[in-house]
C-alpha cells in the first residue's frame, strides 16, 4: 500500500509521472516528496512508485 497525500492507494509499480497525469495533476505546478526526499521535476518520469512509499504532492496556494 502507498500513502499519497495522506490517502492509502494501491499504486505500487506505477510510474510517478504517469500517475500524476492520469490523476489530473499538472506536473509543472508541483513539487513531490517521497519518503521525505524531494524528487526533482525532471525525475518524475524515471521514478517507479514502490510499496510502502509515503508521497506528498504539493503546490503553492495563497498565503500570508
Amino acid at each position: 500500500m502507498v500513502k499519497i497525500n495522506g490517502e492509502a492507494k494501491e499504486i505500487a509499480g506505477k510510474n510517478l509521472l504517469e500517475y500524476l497525469i492520469e490523476n489530473g495533476f499538472n506536473p509543472d505546478h508541483l513539487v513531490v516528496e517521497r519518503n521525505l526526499e524531494i524528487i526533482q521535476k525532471e525525475q518524475f518520469g524515471s521514478v517507479t512508485i514502490q510499496d510502502e512509499d509515503v508521497i506528498e504532492v504539493l503546490r503553492f496556494v495563497g498565503g500570508g
Binding site: V31, I38, G62, G63
Partner: protein, 254 residues
Amino acid sequence: MEDKFVLGGKEFKSRFILGSGKYNLNLIKAAVEQGGAEIITLALRRANTQEKDNILDFIPKGVTLLPNTSGARNAEEAVRIARLSRAMGCGDFVKIEIMRDAKYLFPDNYETVKATEILAKEGFVVLPYMNPDLNVARDLQNAGAAAVMPLAAPIGSNKGLATKAMIQVLIDEIDLPIIVDAGIGKPSQACEAMEMGAAAIMANTAIATAGDVPEMAAAFKLAIEAGRKAYLTGMGRVLARGGSASDPLTGFLR
C-alpha cells in the same frame, strides 16, 4: 537619491510585501499592480486535482515570490517546507513561520532561530517571522537572517501596532531590515511603522478583508510611501510642554 530596499542581494523600489491568502486569485494581479508590490508571499499545501488554477499564473512576471513555512510546528518541519518550496524553482527566498500556539498564532522564536541557521547555511534568503524580542533578533542576525519580521499583533487580527515599543527597539538596535509583519490592519498603521523606521510592511488580511482588495492595496502603497518619506526627512520635534506659534507674533496688533 533613489531610495532602494535591498533584500538578499536584490533591489526593490517598493517596501510593501503583499500576502496572497484569503482572497480570489483573480484579484492578485490587480492587488500587486495597485499596491506596487514587488514581493508576494505564498504557502505550500497538498495539491488537489479538483483545483485547476495555478496561483503562479496569476502573479505578474518579475514579482519575487516569498514562500512561507506556515503549518510548521518546529524547525525541522519549517526546513522541510522551505526545501520543498525551493524545489518549485521560484528562487531562494523563504519566510519562516513556526507556530505551536493555535489561539494567538504566535511564532515560536526558539525554533525559528534554529530553522534560520540551517536554511541560511543552505543559501536561502531567510526572512523569519518572530515575536519582537531584542535578544532573539540578535540571534536571528547571527544565524544569518536577511531581515527580521516582528509581528505587530496576532496574524489576521488587523489590530495594529500592539508591539510598537518593542518594534522600535529592534529598528534602533538591529542592523538588518525590520519588516513589520502580521496584525497591520490599516494604512495609517503601516504609515506609522514606516515613520518609526521600519524597512518594509507585510500585509495580507487588511487587504484581503477590505471592501475592495486592489483599492486597499493602493491605499497601503501610499501610506507606506508617506511613512518612508517622513522617516527619511526627519520628523518635526515634539515640545515637552506648552505651544509654539506657527505665525509671527508681532507686526500687527502688537
